[in-house]
Symmetry: C2
């Protein structure tokens, strides 16, 4: 064996999903990319907002000395101040630059947090369906991911979470608005989750962290508000990125924010600064830090995603699909008409529609459709969606 | 304990070096930063080349759709092509885009490689003095760093390396031009190292990789050439960044190049693409990828570093310091006049000179001076350097 056994196993395990993506690429090569309806990727099709482009030009034109040099590992103090100021209002908490650490996106941030808190064998609980990369992130740092099914409407099953907590639990990781389901957890459920964690921490005499991965916080519809975890539970951290709300996922910029009320905050902050460095991130990209400092309240025009959601939901409902209308994100997670979601995804491929099986997100019997595509793609795909479901219904 | 035991231990172990940096900050606060001679940081003082600024403006002005979106995890194919084309000449090897993976700097690249190749308990051998972060990088992925002292002039002790290779050795990691010594390993020594690794791989029936960390490759003096490892040994990888030669360390951009002759190349390439993703890098920052694609032959004006090297070496020689004149990098690693290098660094602090003890680089009895500072700092620090050495000589 020339590469690590672990990595070889991962490669083998994920080969089925790779094959599916390869099939998508093959279909595009045969039929032309414009004739394939690709709902498989969470790669925002929208351009970054105009203000992003203006600020980028301004930075490119400035002659500031040392603008691309190293800065403290947690990021430029002025950038962290700007983020803190925004968060103060958003989370109604007394957040300062000392509670903010700039990261290489949310994926980078989650790895930094888990490296900082996980001892070998520690467990991280996450509600399923879930973003499967979480399993890798926990494993990277000697931990194990433990999934707990949500209710059929993808809301939190708090009793199940409480039962899953053991003396190995180090964190509960939630993602709301959720990829792949689009669900947003209510304030009531977050508050109850906080109570459960407080009680279990006392019972087990163990610090349990609540981690909230929130890259879709700004992508919500019909006046939905994403509740803050900070009010619900002291030992909590928010991690997020600007990938989705500014449509810049390739740039790898995000941050971690620590609850100002967290115990042992100093250890956490020092540990995360160290972890950020030794994991090889060193610091979040300098130029993007400068940019986002000035774009705290910005986002792409969410009304476009709202319109696409209507188009897709209305279309699929008319075809007979069953789903929970997502209050946030640009994902829809309809039930597959047959239990075998991989087989149904193949049936969609026959109609030149690319989707991802729910099995790939710990949610078998469903498919994930990313509607960050243009309106025409949604409209043009409808006959195919209808034809595919008719095969089985 | 609220954070991982491992991280807490790291924090405690590195507290002495943090205290030293804090003392430097304290001195700057008292005396004014302009009155403190800071040779402690490898943060290039030079501005990026003019072409960098021009290309950045061009990218900011362009209206290219999707310029900040996700791309394949290993990086844009056109960027990897551009890097490959440059490497083809530089290494005289048949490198294509398929052998290049863009990374978040060399630190990111090294973590990606080690994640891909290390099984638990595997050893990575590195010649000391060395960049201490290597220890963390190996540890991140279940491995152990094993250091082998170089000769007193910091050239490779090949017999010692050969003796250190066991059936746990997975890689030998070299860094030439070297941080902290500035030494460049000769073609002869690299060729012999390749022979040793070939022989030992056969003897132990085990793939052993040669990894070369080369961020200072372009920062060499007096016509020094850094030999390519690719000609010397097939199972070899180069990892580097644009941090030092373009003066953009805050931007986190670099790459991994695999020897086209490496065995199991496909596994390595797939494994590294996966590792890049799951470690949370996902991909190297998009905008910086686009930039460096057009700057392959660029660098800051190295003659400035050559001049500073002369200034520092001549000045210190006149004061009675003993050192190996570095053929590359912007570091000088003089012998401390006393065995206790930490004590000597404190004596330098009394003269408002900041240096790093060699102990921090596995090279006790030395100090590291980073001469990426302006000429005046070097000149003005000389009386202090002289006063400090006189205390002990």
């Amino acid at each position: 064996m020339t590469i690590a056994t672990h990595i070889a196993t991962f490669l083998e395990k994920s080969s089925w999903i790779r094959k599916m993506f390869e099939e998508g690429a093959r279909l595009k090569a045969i039929h032309g990319a414009e004739n394939v309806f690709d709902f498989s990727l969470g790669n925002p099709y929208m351009q970054p907002p105009e203000t992003f482009k203006e600020k980028l030009k301004a930075i490119a034109d400035s002659e500031q000395i040392g603008a691309h040099a190293y800065m403290p590992n947690p990021g430029y103090p002025f950038v962290r101040q700007s983020v803190a100021q925004y968060l103060k209002k958003e989370h109604n908490a007394d957040i300062t630059e000392n509670e903010v650490l700039m990261t290489c996106g949310a994926a980078g941030g989650l790895n930094v947090i888990l490296k900082t808190i996980l001892d070998p064998g520690d467990e991280v609980i996450t509600p399923a369906p879930y973003f499967v990369e979480y399993g890798f992130y926990a494993d990277n740092h000697g931990g194990t991911l433990k999934t707990v099914q949500t209710h059929p409407d993808f809301t939190l099953d708090l009793d199940a979470i409480e039962k899953a907590i053991t003396n190995k639990t180090k964190a509960v990781l939630i993602n709301s608005p959720n990829n792949p389901t689009g669900q947003v957890y209510s304030k009531e459920s977050i508050d109850r989750l906080g109570e459960i964690l407080s009680r279990k921490s006392r019972e087990l005499d163990r610090t349990i962290y609540l981690l909230s991965d929130e890259p879709y916080r700004k992508i919500v519809f019909d006046g939905t508000r994403v509740p803050s975890i900070f009010a619900a539970y002291p030992n909590s951290l928010v991690v997020t990125s600007y990938s989705k709300d500014l449509s810049i996922p390739g740039e790898r910029i995000g941050f971690i924010a620590i609850n100002p009320e967290a115990q042992y905050k100093t250890d956490l902050v020092s540990g995360m600064a160290l972890a950020n460095r030794i994991l090889g991130f060193v610091n979040a990209p300098a130029l993007m830090q400068r940019l986002v400092a000035e774009l705290q309240s910005e986002s792409v025009d969410i009304s476009h995603y709202a319109r696409k959601r209507e188009l897709l939901c209305n279309g699929l409902r008319d075809c007979g699909y069953d789903f929970v209308k997502p209050p946030g994100t640009f994902y829809l997670f309809p039930r597959s008409p047959i239990a075998d979601d991989v087989k149904f995804v193949q049936a969609l491929q026959d109609e030149l529609i690319l989707a991802v099986p729910g099995s790939g997100f710990g949610g078998p019997g469903h498919i994930r459709l990313a509607f960050c595509v243009d309106d025409q793609t949604i409209a043009d795909a409808m006959p195919g969606f209808e034809k595919a479901i008719r095969k089985f219904k």
